[in-house]
């Protein structure tokens, strides 16, 4: 029997497979299809202080081996998430869940984390710093070490739960940003968010996405994600949750070898609703194939 368990900041996951925020809703859509308690955990839809509709449609575009989304953080706002979504989540998932939080000012982030902190089922926070800072000329918090550290520190003040900062890959030096978050009190780094991309429709000769650009994800970005996780692993001591293009058990192992303690599955859930479950089921036999007895032993193995 192989061991797929990993320790993510003191909470033991049955396996390192975590559906990524924005691709798994609040879990219950998938619970109609399979028992989602087979998951390590999952990261719920990016939650903000106020309700958001997001960007105008079309906000999805297909790419070779991936997709672009410009959903723009549609969510009912933290109050409604607590009132309506978390009870529904609890009814179908009995493990600690990861709370994905977004904001447009440092205060927004701290407000939302503080509100959610009292929710028992929340095991970890995953703070998405890819959002534009309304007070910083629209530049994403995730593009400057100072801004990312400021968000980290503000969230650190309002929660004792494990705090992961989710980094944007749209930066020149992701290592500096990861180090700044670690120094500001992050318990871990989650990476990567989507890469800025676009598609143009040859018939209309205009961008496919109403917002023109959006976040590119899926198998096509996996090499970039692996490279970034590998680099950050060398620079920080805190654990990393790795993601970007994961769609098979082999991908999970590759990402762990790069330095990830746990791995998220994003776009793959959208094209195959059973993707995360299938990955979990395949993990033991793929581990055996590569002579891996204990998954936690391979973290950072490629270094």
């Amino acid at each position: 029997m192989v061991n797929t368990k990993v320790n993510l900041s003191g909470i033991i996951l049955d396996n390192p497979v975590i559906p990524a925020s924005g691709t798994f809703g609040f879990g219950y859509e998938f619970a109609e299809l399979y028992d989602i308690n087979c998951l390590g955990t999952f990261s719920f839809k990016g939650t903000t202080k106020d309700p958001r509709f997001g960007n105008p449609c079309p906000r999805i575009a297909e790419c070779d081996s991936g997709m672009i989304n410009a959903v723009g953080l549609q969510n009912p706002g933290v109050e409604k998430v607590i009132e309506n979504e978390l009870p529904k989540l609890k009814a179908c998932f009995n493990k600690p869940v990861m709370a994905n939080v977004s904001g447009f000012s440092v205060e927004d982030y701290a407000y939302t984390v503080e509100k959610l902190d009292s929710q028992e089922q929340i095991g970890w926070f995953e703070v998405n710093v890819s959002c534009p800072n309304v007070h910083g000329g629209g530049m994403s918090f995730g593009t400057s070490p100072e801004a990312a550290a400021e968000v980290t520190a503000a969230c650190r003040k309002v929660t004792d739960k494990p705090l992961y900062i989710k980094l944007s890959p749209n930066v020149t030096n992701i290592v500096d940003i990861a180090k700044a978050c670690e120094a500001a009190g992050a318990d871990g780094i989650s990476m990567i968010n989507t890469m800025l991309g676009m598609r143009i429709d040859l018939k209309t000769k205009k961008p496919v996405i109403a917002n023109k650009m959006g976040g590119f994800s899926g198998p096509a970005i996996k090499p970039v994600a692996l490279r970034m996780v590998y680099q950050v692993y060398e620079a920080v001591k805190v654990p990393i949750i790795g993601m970007g293009g994961i769609s098979t058990a082999e991908d999970v192992i590759e990402m762990m070898l790069a330095g990830a303690t746990a791995v998220q599955v994003g776009a793959a859930n959208l094209v195959d609703p059973f993707a995360s479950k299938t990955i979990i089921e395949n993990l033991p036999k793929v581990m055996e194939k590569y002579n891996i007895d204990d998954l936690s032993q391979i973290i950072g193995g490629a270094h």
């Binding site: 924005g22 691709t23 798994f24 809703g25 859509e29 998938f30 109609e32 299809l33 839809k45 509709f53 997001g54 449609c57 079309p58 906000r59 999805i60 575009a61 297909e62 790419c63 070779d64 081996s65 991936g66 997709m67 989304n69 959903v71 549609q74 496919v208 899926g218 198998p219 776009a267 859930n269 959208l270 094209v271 195959d272 609703p273 059973f274």
Partner: protein, 243 residues
């Protein structure tokens, strides 16, 4: 919703660009006319949403137009090949409030989902009128199929090469109806909205990431709050739509 592998029983050309594909497999997840399926195609990342034109216990009929790489690929597939399909997506049309003289209005590739709806309404003993709109005579499909069901069928062509010259709204002028169901392009919807005298239901299209409510890729605003076209739609009631 269920996921399954469906065998292509036939895939025939109806017009220059429109094809009819019959798939064999489990149809237990289909609960209403106007629902759709989401088809995985080799080498394409996202699935392709296509309305269920008709179904029975073991088959699903799709009618689709070749507009891009995915539908082109579908048109080349042959009997015996298998497709990975998500089945029974979306809410579909609700038949509760339609009275005894429902009007079905389809434009172009919006026509297919009305076929099974028409069948159900006729089985319920309704007097159904179907108005179909196409650009030109060569593009007309399913007209005879609706007639065989026992519906009164009126066709409008934009160039006047067949039936009424003009748009569906020209063909429906003298129809006496108690309710309407429609599917088709946005300009047609706006024209219907301007003239329709009863309540009705519109079936919308949007680019989709998942097709089953997980990604928020297809949301729209309605008078009753945000809705996902794939899960809370594709059918919306006239009263809730914000134009």
């Amino acid at each position: 919703m269920t996921q399954g592998f469906y065998k292509i029983l036939s895939n025939i050309q109806l017009t220059r660009t429109v094809y009819k594909m019959v798939l064999g497999g489990d149809t237990g997840a289909i609960t209403a006319s106007g629902q759709f399926v989401n088809i995985k195609l080799d080498g394409k990342f996202l699935r392709r949403p296509i309305s269920i034109c008709d179904y029975d216990e073991t088959t699903i009929t799709l009618v689709y137009k070749v507009v891009g790489v995915g539908t082109e690929q579908m048109s080349k597939m042959t009997e015996g090949q298998e497709l990975d399909v998500l089945v029974g997506l979306g809410n579909g049309y609700s038949l509760d409030k339609c009275g005894d003289k429902p009007l079905l209005i389809g434009g172009g590739v919006g026509v297919p989902p009305l076929y099974n709806l028409c069948k159900k309404l006729i089985n319920e003993g309704k007097k159904v009128t179907v108005v179909l709109g196409f650009n030109t005579k060569e593009e007309i499909f399913l007209e005879d199929d609706f007639k065989k069901l026992g519906a009164e069928v009126l066709v409008a062509t934009a160039d006047g090469s067949y039936g009424v010259k003009g748009f569906v709204t020209d063909a429906m002028k003298d129809v006496d109806y108690t309710y309407f169901f429609t599917c088709g392009p946005m300009p047609m919807f706006k024209a219907i909205e301007a003239v329709a005298s009863t309540s009705g239901q519109y079936s919308f299209e949007e680019r989709m990431g998942c097709g089953f409510g997980a990604c928020m890729g297809c949301s729209c605003k309605t008078k009753y709050g945000n809705k996902r076209i794939c899960k809370d739609g594709p059918v919306l009631e006239r009263e809730e739509i914000i134009w």
